[in-house]
Amino acid sequence: MTVTAPAQDSNAVVYLAACNDRQLLVQRCNQCQHFQFYPRLFCTACGSSNLASVQSSGLGRIATYTLVRKAPAMAPDQLPLAVALIDLDEGVRLMSNIVECDAEQLRCGMRVGVKFIQQEDEQWIPVFTPLNPEEEGCDE
């Protein structure tokens, strides 16, 4: 018996392939210049299907964050896990983890930059790490 898997989201395929090349893609509408994340077939601002995938600067700010202390699916040594919403400089928001940070130092508005880590299934995913103010220049 042949089992047919449902079609994968074509935009997600492109996004995940770019992640494996350590690139974070966001979509920009060629019609109205609106940036959007996650990628879709249509612009949520103007409805156009004329969209470009562009590489994000990978820089942004922590919009909000939490430290997950209890998670049934996770091993205790993986906790606490910093889950955050990141506002990229392009003007889009995405969920991610903050890594290589002192959990007590996290705060809303903190500047962060992207890096990529590999999951158990070998897929690379974007995570973020705090930037040194000097490293980044004038932002803070």
Partner: protein, 386 residues
């Protein structure tokens, strides 16, 4: 609002809390039979049945299977799934079915066994099934974590404190202490909440709702017909819904929810405002959800939800009784049916059956529920039927 002429004329709750010896179907059917008896009707009088599926024992055709279990043959059957908002969506669909002539006597029934019926594997699946599969789940968010993201954003924007969030549980227990059917009835202090373990900063164990078994059912019919029924009618005066996103990373605002919009619609339909609300029955899945609803539904200004809770306004001796049954923080939360107990309590308050929790001069009760991660919102205003 002239066309709205539908009332709740019967209701029943099952045993609530930890019920190990009844299946979700048995709980749901028991609630239906009880609600019909309360209304002075027989189960065979039901010609519309609206249910929500059980998470523990899901069925492909849940409402139809419930009808079959009861031995009835309704001409309108619907199973609703809008998460926490399921209850009020179902009530609204019941009203629409009655107004459209699809049915005359509609029962809304929901029950589940989230406390006793979930295996560890099922619980893990439930936990992992929220969040966008590509853009969120790889980061291992939990349901409390989503609400913690909202809480942190509210603290950052408005200076809301953990002490203020803790007041949600303090208020909930002050009501629950007077409700014999409440799963937890011990009073707690702000210090108790702050001493409970962190689940996802800044939310602690006692910022989170409980997990329960149980169910309830309502009987709805045209208000004009209600005059001949066994119980005084509780009329649907206003309803509003708003859906702004599904995944928290797509929320247009983390600190103002679509409750502001659904509330506005419900107030406009009922022709009244928050100052006319005698009791508010809100969706307290987490402390922060309650706090934001108090703001968005107009009971205090944006950013002042923390101070409002801290003032004691929502407690038994306060200006705005909130969740007089104890809410989902203390009373009963079997999943999708959770908000149904906000309705049964409202009916008790209108009928004068709320025991030690009974409020005087209850004319208008606002109920609000939300599904997803503060994503889908529904507001309902109830009044005394005429």
């Amino acid at each position: 609002m002239k066309s709205r002429s539908v009332s709740i004329v019967g209701m029943a709750e099952t045993q609530l809390g930890v019920i190990k010896d009844r299946s979700p179907m048995e709980l749901g059917a028991t609630a239906v039979v009880g609600a019909c008896a309360d209304a002075g009707l027989s189960v065979g009088d039901i010609d519309g049945l609206i249910t929500s599926n059980s998470l523990v024992a899901p069925l492909m055709y849940h409402a139809e299977a419930t009808a079959e279990y009861l031995g009835i043959t309704p001409r309108h059957c619907l199973s609703v799934a809008t998460g926490g908002g399921t209850t009020f969506t179902a009530i609204h669909h019941a009203a629409m079915a009655i107004e459209a002539g699809l049915a005359d006597t509609v029962v809304v029934a929901m029950a589940d066994s989230m406390r006793s019926g979930l295996s560890r594997e099922q619980a893990l699946r439930v936990q992992a099934s929220s969040g966008h599969p590509v853009y969120e789940r790889p980061y291992c968010p939990t349901v409390p974590a989503y609400y913690a993201l909202i809480a942190r954003a509210h603290m950052d924007a408005y200076g809301t404190t953990e002490e203020q969030l803790a007041e949600a549980m303090v208020s909930s227990r002050a009501w629950a202490a007077n409700n014999p059917t409440s799963q937890y009835r011990d009073l707690v202090s702000v210090a108790d909440v702050l001493a409970s373990p962190l689940i996802a900063d800044p939310l602690r164990l006692l910022d989170c709702s409980i997990v329960s078994d149980g169910g309830a059912a309502l009987v709805l019919t045209r208000t004009e017909r209600a005059a001949d029924m066994a119980q005084p009618a509780v009329e649907l005066l206003g309803y509003g819904e708003a859906h702004h996103y599904e995944h928290i990373s797509q929320a247009p605002s983390l600190t103002t929810s679509a409750a502001a919009e659904s509330g506005r619609m419900a107030y406009a339909q009922a022709g009244l405002g928050p100052e006319k609300i005698d009791i508010a029955q809100l969706y307290d899945c987490f402390s922060i959800a309650l706090l934001i609803q108090l703001e968005d539904l107009g009971f205090c200004a944006k950013g002042e939800g923390g101070a409002f809770l801290q003032s004691g306004a929502t407690r038994p001796d306060g200006a705005l009784p909130v969740n007089t049954h104890g809410g989902m923080l203390s009373h009963c939360h079997p999943g999708n049916p959770g908000a149904l107990f906000a309705v049964t309590e409202a009916v008790k308050q209108f009928r004068g059956e709320a025991g030690e929790r009974q409020q005087t001069d209850v004319n208008h009760i606002l109920l609000h529920a939300q599904g997803g991660i503060m994503s889908s919102h529904s507001s309902l205003i109830l009044g005394r039927g005429h």
